[in-house]
């Protein structure tokens, strides 16, 4: 039977098992919205800004292992989505973004609401397509999902001109698709795995460093097993938190610019570094010249281009982390050799000494609410079992440092692009995916205002998100840099004229709470979490002078931290 392009699109999404489409209508996608009106099974979520749609789809994807789906109109719809597409791209999040386009005969005519969406998004997508003929639509969508979800995942944009959604074609959705120019590697080279394991076993001061790739590649179970068998210390990047249980004693905390003393010192002094699904980002390595000066490095990554990009490695393995980790466990079992227990005991002794620095301690005896304490209380109040999204700034670092994530896909933040405005819409996506779960959005008064309009979406769909606003009346992270590196010249980092967040929450139909004293923090969480079906905006008035420690200043090595 022949279907219109719009109906074909809807059918394709259903065949892909899509549950939610996050979107916003407009002229170029009216046929598609009409097709959505006439069907059952696909849930379209109406956001309040296209950026919100992309972050929501992104949050959905990060908290599940499924791609997020977005539908926006041409022109401003597409440009509004770009920030969210770039955010997903930097963190390798699988997403399919459908953008409407002006009718094919008008393309290139500066038509109403025309932008070159394929051109604008090219540098921030894994791939993109312009569909010019309805006959190509189904196959293109199949390819889009295939490319987005395989290999190193990423967002894929499919730009569909309005006439294509109206034209008819025979509908056939291929079961499988092959692309001669796209063949992601899955299995790591067995010889390399053996070499890697031997090197790992030869270590006197080993260190395991893992990133978002372990989460995206669902390799957490295998990572935990391997790490426990070896008995080695492990650190996670900001993107990798939860891949290994943070409450386990082998976990030495996050590394990098705001990582723990013990994690960064262990990195600096290790003799064998095992990097898995991590990309040696500049926020992790600090000064490259000074990075891990004594280490031989094993690097496992699905993307060959990540290997030896910033840091030269000794044993590269290209492959899906899950498979490679399985192979490592197997090879380890086959080899007679054991780790050097004696050396390891000395190494742990050293690490424990570093740990005693207790670099995350803070003084909460004063009158003001310490932001770190709010996160610690959030952790307790949710039994460490919430999904936590965050925005970007100091609050993000505190959430990463003080909420101990024991499971993967629980910590949802924009690590690569660092997009303020991500937290609230991402929390919506997470809550849609996990309707029964506690979803907390840790944010700041600066960030939350960047997508505040989504409070309206939350009301429409009854999303009981708990917003934890660490309100320091400053663009705190900016203020911190200005304090450290610009002699306290606080240029444009003070936020004057803030809204009354309680009234704001109420205006959007939600519950708002002001929390101003340390002793009120715990009861406030109890009360807020008790409101199972309500969104609660918790506005914590925090100590504005607080900084994120430890900190590695720009240009310094991992052993050159500012502790307090």
């Amino acid at each position: 039977m022949e279907l219109t392009g719009a109906d074909i699109l809807v059918e394709c999404l259903k065949k892909e098992g899509v549950e939610f489409v996050f979107g916003y209508p407009g002229g170029a996608v009216l046929h598609i919205y009409d097709a959505l009106y006439n069907q059952k099974g696909l849930n379209h979520i109406l956001v309040r800004h296209e950026q919100g749609a992309t972050h929501a789809a992104d949050g959905y994807a990060r908290s599940t292992d499924k791609p997020g789906v977005v539908l926006v109109t041409s022109g401003p719809g597409a440009t509004n989505a770009v920030t969210g597409i770039a955010t997903a791209y930097m963190d390798s999040i699988p997403m399919v973004v459908i953008t409407g386009q002006v009718p094919t005969p008008l393309i290139g005519n500066d038509a109403f609401q025309e932008v070159d969406s394929v051109g604008i998004t090219r540098p921030c997508v894994k791939h993109n397509f312009l569909v010019k003929d309805v006959k190509d639509l189904a196959l293109t969508l199949k390819k889009a999902f295939y490319v987005a979800t395989t290999g190193r995942p990423g967002p894929v944009v499919v730009d569909i001109p309005k006439d294509v959604t109206q034209h008819k074609a025979e509908f056939h959705y291929p079961e499988k698709v092959e692309m001669r120019s796209y063949n992601p590697v899955v299995r790591g080279h067995v010889g390399q795995v053996k070499r890697a394991v031997k090197l790992m076993l030869s270590a006197k001061r080993p260190m395991i460093y893992t990133g978002g790739g372990v989460i995206l590649g669902d390799g957490s179970t295998e990572l935990t097993e391997l790490t426990r068998r070896l008995g080695y210390p492990i650190t996670n990047t900001l993107m990798g938190l939860g891949a290994y249980p943070a409450t386990d004693k082998q976990f030495v905390g996050m590394l990098g610019m705001h990582g723990t003393y013990e994690a960064n010192m262990a990195m600096h002094h290790c003799d064998v570094l095992i990097a898995i699904g991590a990309r040696f980002d500049d926020r992790v390595t600090g000064n490259i010249e000074k990075f891990c000066p004594t280490a031989k490095i094993v690097h496992v990554d699905i993307d060959p281009a990540s290997i030896s990009k910033n840091i030269k490695v000794d044993v590269p393995i290209v492959g899906c982390v899950k498979n490679v980790l399985e192979d490592m466990i197997r090879v380890l079992a086959e080899l007679e050799q054991q780790p050097d227990r004696e050396a390891l005991a000395d190494w742990w002794k050293q690490i424990e000494e570093w740990r005693e620095t207790d670099c995350l301690k803070y003084d909460d005896s004063g009158e003001l609410i310490k932001p770190q304490m709010v996160i610690a209380k959030l952790y307790e109040a949710t039994n460490g079992d919430a999904y936590v999204t965050s925005d970007v700034g100091q609050h993000q670092m505190w959430a990463a440092q003080y909420y101990k994530f024991d499971k993967p896909r629980r910590w949802i933040n924009s690590g690569g692009l660092g997009t303020m405005g991500f937290g609230l819409p991402a929390a919506m996506g997470v809550q849609f995916a996990h309707p029964e779960a506690t979803v907390a959005c840790v944010t700041g008064e600066g960030s939350v205002q960047m997508c505040i309009q989504e409070l309206s979406t939350c009301l429409q769909y009854g999303l009981p998100i708990k917003i934890v606003n660490l309100n320091n009346r400053y663009l705190g992270m900016v203020r911190q840099w200005q304090q450290f590196f610009y002699d306290g010249r606080y240029s444009m980092s003070y936020m004057d004229a803030l809204p009354d967040f309680v009234k704001l929450a109420e205006a959007y139909g939600h519950v708002g709470m002001n929390i101003e004293r340390p002793e009120d923090v715990e009861p406030a969480f109890k009360e807020a979490l008790g409101m199972k079906n309500r969104l609660v905006f918790m506005n914590f008035i925090t100590d504005q002078t607080e900084n994120v420690y430890p900190m590695i200043p720009a240009g310094a090595g991992l052993n050159e931290m500012i502790l307090v």
Partner: protein, 155 residues
Amino acid sequence: MENEAGALSRVAGLFSARGYNIESLTVAPTEDASLSRMTLVTRGSDEILEQITKQLNKLVDVVKLLDLTEGPHIEREMMLVKVHAVGEHRHELKRLADIFRGRIVDVTPHTYTIELTGAGDKLDAFIEALAGTTILETVRSGVSGISRGEKSLRL
């Protein structure tokens, strides 16, 4: 590469976004109309060239990539030069073109247009040899390359 609209801009965009430099680039469809072949000349340290290779391979439209400089290969570029040619000078220009195995492909009372094919340095040498002649226009195709011997870049 896939002979798709936009494939070229993906390559060009990659180079500008990552700060790599393109010395020359040629592209045209092959005998298989679904594929086009690109020869791209770039320069960089081994590490940068490795990154360029990997990043290009990541582009979904790139089907197969070969670094021709890893083995013996042939590089050819075509150039058209329009020069001022009058009087005695016309003979001299003809001789010079012959020495470089060039051909005069268009003639007017005042100009010659010379076609020349070869590796880049040969074309450079020809331009140098034209010192004293008024060059009105030059156009170069950019380098096309192919490996020597029986090895071939195929699917």
